[in-house]
């Protein structure tokens, strides 16, 4: 494993508010990592610090072993596609052309293909594009740049489900042929869960989860059944959430659940339901864990 991005005790403070709080994290070469968390959790700030658009209040960030701040040699190896990307008042094809000059690995054929797939009118001014088309311009640039590190920060505001699927498909296909480091920040966790090799969850500026995506599957389970049986089954487990209706209880507990326990659950007539990545993130980002602060 080779980290290409590394932060060390990184803190970013805005007037007393900590957007990033003592963040030490690494992103590995040629992996797709999901950077997940609520609005205002610090995802965008982290991406901005990595791309040298903001500087740390304390701590450090290195990209390819160097400080990215005003470091052209590093910045050209990174593409950052963000939600609120501003463009000068130019036409789509000019934005694409400008990007082609900046990125050394630019693939012009791929860019043309993507423009067609997202039905982007090349001659239209970016200002006149719909919200979804505006997002698509960023996606085309982010993919065609083929940068060694590509950061997508909520890249698809206004894009419909079909276009988002197209984005995922193109991302996977191009990543498979040209492996590179990808950081993807999104709210649509269920949509991207299977694309991710690694997951980082950030909440209130702190890292809450930093684990391989496959390890997260099975970290929690929801037990459903008659209250009394559920209660006896979850006894001794760390309980994350308790709910239910009438005599029916649903309790989410920390896993993993051993095979023997599965058999016990079956004998008690209980259903064990897996907890999705989305639910895991909600849990990790929604509760202040003891000792976290």
């Amino acid at each position: 494993m080779t980290p290409v991005i590394r932060t060390e005790r990184l803190t970013r403070q805005y007037r007393g508010q900590r957007a990033l709080d003592d963040v030490t994290v690494e992103f590995q070469r040629d992996t797709i990592t999901g950077l997940l968390g609520r609005n205002g959790a610090g995802k965008s700030t982290l991406m901005k610090v990595i791309t040298g658009q903001e500087f740390p209040s304390s701590g450090s960030v290195t990209v390819f072993g160097q400080n990215p701040l005003e470091n052209d040699g590093v910045l050209r190896r990174m593409a950052f596609v963000k939600e609120s990307q501003q463009y000068p008042d130019i036409k789509v094809r000019h934005a694409i052309e400008a990007a082609s000059w900046f990125f050394p690995n630019w693939d012009a054929d791929l860019a043309e293909q993507l423009l067609d797939e997202f039905a982007l009118p090349r001659k239209r001014r970016i200002k006149k594009l719909s919200r979804g088309m505006h997002s698509a311009v960023g996606i085309v640039i982010g993919l065609a740049a083929r940068a060694e590190i590509t950061l997508f920060d909520e890249p698809y505001l206004g894009l419909d489900a079909v276009s988002r699927q197209n984005f995922y498909d193109r991302l996977l296909a191009d990543y498979a042929e040209h492996p590179r480091t990808i950081l993807l920040s999104t709210h649509l966790i269920d949509e991207v869960a299977n694309l991710l090799e690694h997951v980082v969850v950030i909440d209130q500026g702190r890292i809450k989860i930093d684990a391989p995506a496959d390890d997260l599957r099975g970290t929690a389970v929801t037990v459903v059944g008659p209250s009394r049986s559920v209660d006896s089954f979850v006894d001794g487990h760390e309980v994350w959430h308790r709910g239910g209706i009438g005599s029916l209880a649903t309790v989410t507990i920390a896993g993993p659940i051993a095979n023997g326990q599965r058999a016990t659950a079956r004998d008690l007539g209980l259903d064990l339901e897996p907890v999705s990545l989305q639910q895991l993130v909600v849990h990790a980002a929604g509760t202040e864990q003891a000792g976290a602060r």
């Binding site: 992996t31 797709i32 995922y168 498909d169 996977l172 296909a173 990543y175 498979a176 042929e177 492996p179 299977n194 694309l195 991710l196 090799e197 995506a213 496959d214 390890d215 599957r217 099975g218 389970v221 058999a263 079956r266 004998d267 007539g269 064990l272 339901e273 897996p274 907890v275 999705s276 990545l277």
Partner: protein, 131 residues
């Protein structure tokens, strides 16, 4: 070409890939000696991370069910089907018979009735699917 395959949230994805693959070898969808799709092809088809797909395929390589032929790809080993079927037979009691007996007990279905049910039940079409 894509289809939306439903994955189980609770099991590591690469394990599910490995199970799907061995399922396909067991039911003959993937014949012995046949080339297996590459991890990238798998990834694109199933819409999953290519590294995850590769990890799943490697489980079968480690089990000696698939073999790499340099520069050509991955192939199903001769005897792979038999090997998988044997392993599944070993798990049949624990995975299917024991849970069935437990549920039958809960419902008060006696042995006679159970045998009768087995005699008169048609297999579901998704016979190759495992729980």
């Amino acid at each position: 070409m894509e289809e939306d395959v439903v994955f189980d949230e609770g099991t590591p994805l690469f394990v599910q890939i490995a199970e799907q693959l061995s399922g396909q070898i067991a039911d003959g969808t993937l014949a012995e000696g046949e080339r297996v799709p590459s991890s990238n092809e798998f990834a694109a088809f199933l819409r999953i991370n290519p590294a995850t797909a590769a990890k799943g395929i490697n489980v079968l390589v480690d089990d000696g069910l698939l073999e790499k032929r340099r520069g050509i790809g991955m192939f199903v080993v001769r005897g792979a089907r038999q090997q998988i079927l044997q392993r599944r037979r070993g798990q049949f009691t624990e995975q299917f018979v024991a849970p069935m007996l437990a549920e039958a007990g809960r419902l008060g279905i006696g042995r006679e009735e159970l045998f009768d049910l087995i005699d008169h039940t048609q297999p579901t079409t998704q016979g190759a699917q495992r729980p």
